[in-house]
């Protein structure tokens, strides 16, 4: 991209108007008031409240100890487990999902619709039903376990259990892969057959098409969806809670235990500090994403 087109874009009609009409700023906001009031009360208000609360001790004084505590011991360890698990499940979901999506876009429109519908059910209904479905299928007496055993693979021969990190990742794939298929397919559909023809007529091979056309075109979409998958499994709570009854040290599970008060009493503020830290991790991940995106744009 040259400088000239860049500057022309900056002086578009939209920005010009915005600069001129600063007098009517408030007036132009009026129709948005219902939305802003709703968001203010139902999103911003609870968030500011919890951030304030994270800095309070049990007797209502300002303190840093909640945050100091949440990086120690089992709580500190849960950061590692949660991030590690989310990263792996996002990677598996992104790679498998994009492979499936690239096969799906070649099929007829009926198949595509059916796959999209199925994916949206798995990605959205998710949670609790998936957990029990896996307990039934992959349990020691389940049909999957028995079939695999008959084929010579004893699932429970090693240290595998469904309640471990590997088990949870396996279950998470069940909503991560469909989510990837759902969000990545539209990006794939934007790749026109003409690109392929241009590549071929200019003497490009399949490899050059892959490395010089499809990867650069799809990289931003791939990255942003992977990030979404990370956030999705990072904040997932239902499946893990229904399956492990809170035994795996994942951040959401620990927070749930702390706040329910049935494990340790009077630890709400620590729970809130953990919850705020989770938002922090999400923001950092988002920041990395924006940086990578900027870098990939600057290079192309």
């Amino acid at each position: 991209m040259t400088d000239r087109t860049g500057s022309r874009k900056g002086a578009g009609p939209l920005q010009y108007k915005a600069g001129k009409a600063s007098k009517g700023t408030f007036k132009s906001l009026l129709p948005l008031l219902p939305f802003l009031a709703f968001i203010g009360y139902f999103l911003v208000f609870p968030l500011t409240f919890i951030i304030r609360d994270a800095f309070l001790s049990n007797d209502g004084k300002f303190t840093w100890t909640n945050f100091a505590q949440c990086f120690q011991g089992v709580y500190g360890h849960s950061f590692y487990v949660s991030i590690h698990l989310s990263f792996i499940s996002a990677m598996i979901g992104a790679v498998a999902g994009s492979m499936i999506a690239s096969a799906i876009v070649k099929t007829g429109s009926r198949t595509r619709k059916a796959v999209a519908a199925t994916s949206s059910v798995l990605a959205n209904t998710g949670g609790v039903p998936l957990a029990f479905m896996f307990l039934a299928g992959f349990g020691a007496e389940g049909l999957v376990t028995k079939t695999l055993k008959a084929m010579g693979w004893n699932l429970y021969g090693g240290s595998f259990t469904l309640f471990s990190e590997t088990g949870i990742i396996l279950v998470y794939c069940f909503f991560q892969i469909p989510l990837m298929v759902l969000i990545f397919s539209p990006a794939l559909e934007n790749i026109k057959p003409e690109f392929r023809e241009a590549n071929d007529s200019l003497g490009g091979t399949r490899l050059t098409y892959f490395t010089r056309v499809s990867v650069p075109l799809l990289f931003p979409a791939f990255l942003s969806t992977s990030l979404l998958l990370f956030a999705n499994s990072f904040s997932a709570y239902a499946t893990a809670r229904a399956m492990t009854a809170g035994t795996l040290p994942l951040m959401p599970l620990l927070i749930g235990n702390l706040v329910d008060g049935n494990v340790i009493a009077n630890q709400e503020h620590l729970g809130h500090a953990m919850a705020v830290s989770m938002i922090g991790v999400s923001i950092i991940v988002m920041g990395i994403y924006l940086l990578v995106l900027k870098f990939s744009k600057a290079r192309s």
């Binding site: 798995l122 959205n124 029990f132 999400s282 923001i283």
Partner: protein, 259 residues
């Protein structure tokens, strides 16, 4: 747009089908096992239907879903229409606001709500609907925004206003029917989310259908498995019918006329 699939594509599709279908079949088989574990029957399903919680919690979840869908439309359609007409300079800002729920883990949001909200709000189950509106924002915003971008909104609104319709009439009888498929998409997202949501419901101590399934599992795991199979297969069939069924003649025509 049918293209030729290569061998690799077939392998991927076969593997994926096996990966997604096999556990479901296994769970179904498991839920049909009789007590003596040698024959199969529908005992677990019969048991589930006779529980008091089945109807009450399902009904609660359905009411929440309806309220959520209505609230999403009432709140978002006028807002996004305005962003496409006079309020274009706020579009970036509102878009950003709508993405915030993606960054905030639901559990953090739930804690904030349970500490911040006054008791009068927390004493009614309908508070969940408003929270579901918030967490569905990233998806519903996108669905409606894409829908509105694909129609000549300004022309439609001007024509309708010039013919003497009020803004409310214009929204209800001109804009919404024109973006019917986008509206359907937003409704579907809101409904699916409300029916399956667990985290907010359990942390705010409400009994909805998903939390009830989790509760049941503690005493009767086979019942919970049967319910899970029912929930998954049921919603899958429902969505499949909606997605593949040919669209009604009328709505198709308006879409084409608008395009």
């Amino acid at each position: 747009m049918k293209k030729k699939l290569n061998a690799f594509n077939y392998i991927v599709l076969l593997g994926a089908t096996a990966f997604f279908v096999f556990p479901l079949i296994a769970a179904t088989e498991f839920s049909l096992r009789a007590k003596n574990a040698t024959t199969h029957n529908f005992d677990n399903y019969v048991w589930v239907f006779h529980q008091d919680g089945f109807r009450t919690t399902l009904w609660t979840s359905l009411r929440l879903a309806i309220l959520t869908a209505v609230a999403v439309l009432v709140l978002m359609v006028p807002t996004i229409v305005y962003l496409h007409l006079g309020g274009a300079r706020w579009k970036r800002f509102i878009e950003f606001v709508c993405l915030v729920p993606l960054v905030v883990p639901v559990i953090s949001f739930a804690l904030g709500v349970s500490t911040a909200f006054p008791t009068f709000l927390q004493s009614t189950v309908y508070e969940l609907s408003f929270l579901y509106v918030v967490i569905s924002l990233p998806y519903t915003y996108r669905a409606l925004d894409v829908g509105l971008s694909s129609i000549p909104l300004l022309t439609l609104v001007e024509a309708s206003r010039a013919s003497g319709a009020s803004m409310r009439q214009t929204l209800m009888f001109v804009v919404v029917p024109t973006i019917r498929s986008a509206v359907n998409g937003a409704i579907f997202l809101a409904v699916a989310l409300s029916l399956g949501e667990f985290t907010l419901a359990v942390l705010l101590h409400w009994d909805t259908f998903p939390t009830w399934i989790a509760n049941i599992s503690q005493g009767h795991i086979l019942g919970a498995i049967s319910l899970s199979v029912l929930a998954l297969v049921g919603s899958w069939l429902l969505v499949l019918v909606v997605a593949i069924a040919p669209k009604s003649f009328g709505s198709n025509k308006t879409q084409e006329a608008a395009a």
